[in-house]
């Protein structure tokens, strides 16, 4: 699903962000991506959603080599990846329904198929009654659920979540995390970047830890230092 082979990412102004990072996330897998701020988690996620390409090495997502992907093919690949962010990134002037529908509309999906799918997804994330609410009328947890529904609307094979619970209280965190687990159980692989070690320790999902641009621990390999000792909780 995701394959990083000896990936190096260097920015002209800030220097090396990733050094020789190699790992893979398999189909249907749930993996946490942990590490302190500035460790390289967001760079890895940006490489996965093809907002960046590696300086050296290879990134493959759903079989596509991102560095040689023609520009016009990138949107097609992104439709196979659902993305969720800490700050939700919802369009403030559109209702929950419209925010979710928007992700389908950009693909040119037929109009009548959109509304049925949107209401099914809002029901799935527990927001059936909030479809006509605007983001500012929803709580943080609810906004994140709308973002998750939007991420799922194109039936992705992979869900990438960048600190999805970073702005949420404990109760909302538990709810959103459970939702992500349910989604993963239904098929899509999930790669979730987080600082929340409580969440990581609560499950036996795979943990990939990065620090200073290097992969320092991968529970699937069982190498390096432990997740708890090297991570910086928020």
């Amino acid at each position: 699903m995701i394959r990083f082979s000896h990936v190096v990412k260097e920015y002209p102004r800030t220097g090396l962000a990733l050094q020789d990072v190699t790992f893979r996330v398999n189909k249907g897998e749930f993996a946490f991506l942990t590490g302190p701020s500035g460790a390289g988690k967001s760079t890895i996620l940006r490489l996965v959603i093809v907002e960046e390409t590696p300086t050296a090495g290879e990134v493959r997502v759903s079989g596509s080599l991102t560095s040689s992907l023609p520009r016009k093919e990138i949107p097609r690949l992104r439709r196979k990846i659902g993305v969720v962010f800490q700050d939700f990134r919802l369009l403030e002037d559109r209702t929950a329904e419209e925010n979710v529908a928007f992700a389908l509309e950009v693909t040119g999906a037929p109009r009548d198929a959109i509304s049925a799918r949107v209401s099914r997804l809002l029901t799935q994330v527990g927001l059936a009654s909030k479809g006509t609410s605007y983001p500012k009328e929803l709580s943080g947890g609810e906004q994140q659920r709308v973002a998750i529904a939007r991420a799922l609307v194109n039936d992705p094979v992979l869900l990438v979540a960048d600190e999805p619970t970073g702005n949420l209280d404990d109760r909302a965190t538990r709810g959103v995390f459970q939702l992500l687990r349910d989604i993963n159980a239904a098929g899509p692989a999930v790669l979730m970047a987080t600082h929340n070690l409580e969440l990581v320790k609560r499950t036996d999902y795979r943990v990939i830890e990065v620090n200073r641009g290097q992969l320092v621990f991968d529970s699937a390999e069982g190498n390096g230092a432990g997740v708890v000792s090297t991570s910086t909780p928020t």
Partner: protein, 282 residues
């Protein structure tokens, strides 16, 4: 297309002030262009009016037979450059002189004035070379004493026309370039105001074309509305000048329509440039 228009309308609803500002900016930059166009149009028409007075006068020798004059006039009117040939008798020449020049008020005997033939040329043949060429051909008739066409005057007139034409094109291009830059910058503000939305669109898999389309339609429509406003302003300015200063001509409907469509195209171009640059960055 339905989606594109919905996005355009959403953009206008979301930031009505910015949209109004864009249209007004486009209108004023096109208004400046329109005023300049009006100046060029009127200078050109004035010069054309003066040009119509370019004429060749062939003075005939005393005792020239009327048949020979008629035959020559037939020949001359067949020249491709010639629009009109007419004979002026000494009496007619005196009547004109009395009407135009006060010093002829007390002159009643026309016998000292020679008969003449006046030749007017068609549009496009009033340049110094053509005029001189026709003059030389007329001079070959044996009964023609002298031919005059105001050589210096025709040359000066033609130089003024050439300078006015070149200045018109150069300044016109400059005005158009300034309009494109101003409109491009205005539309860029709209694009920047919606950059978050663009990044979300791209995140959920929108193609560049899908992202670009509403901005292009938006730019075209704003350019069109701005063009219409500019036309109204130019018309108003033209009316005020005609009423208070000097009678001016206004663009004919074809040129006016072209101007408004031109506004739309400039808006489209400005949009395409701004969105293209922005898309490469996000």
């Amino acid at each position: 297309m339905r989606l594109t228009f919905r996005e355009v309308m959403l953009g206008v609803r979301r930031s009505p002030l910015l949209s109004t500002l864009s249209v007004v900016t486009i209108a004023f930059s096109l208004f400046a262009f329109g005023l300049f166009g009006l100046l060029v149009l009127n200078v050109d028409r004035a010069l054309r009016g003066v040009e119509e007075h370019v004429e060749i006068v062939a003075f005939l020798a005393d005792g020239t037979l009327p048949e020979a004059v008629s035959a020559a006039m037939g020949d001359i009117s067949a020249f491709p450059e010639v629009a009109l040939v007419q004979q002026v008798s000494p009496e007619q020449a005196l009547a004109r002189a009395r009407a135009e020049l006060p010093e002829f008020q007390d002159v009643f005997d026309a016998s000292f004035l020679p008969p003449s033939i006046e030749v007017r040329l068609k549009e496009g043949h009033r340049d110094p070379v053509s005029v001189k060429d026709v003059t030389q051909r007329i001079q070959t008739y044996p009964f023609v004493d002298d031919v005059r066409y105001g050589e210096d005057w025709v040359k000066k007139l033609y130089d003024i026309r050439n300078i006015a034409g070149a200045a018109g094109i150069a300044l016109g291009l400059l005005f158009a370039a300034v309009a494109v830059i101003i409109i491009g910058t205005t539309i860029r503000m709209t694009v920047l105001a919606r950059s978050r939305e663009i990044s979300i669109m791209r995140l959920v898999g929108a193609t560049d074309g899908f992202v670009r389309r509403p901005f292009l339609v938006d730019g075209f429509l704003k350019g069109l509305v701005g063009g219409l406003l500019a036309l109204l302003l130019t018309w108003g300015a033209s009316s005020v000048i005609s009423h208070n200063l000097i009678q001016t001509s206004f663009f004919d409907p074809g040129i006016a329509t072209l101007g408004v469509i031109g506004g739309g195209i400039i808006g489209l171009l400005g949009s395409a440039l701004s969105v293209g640059r922005h898309l490469r960055r996000v």
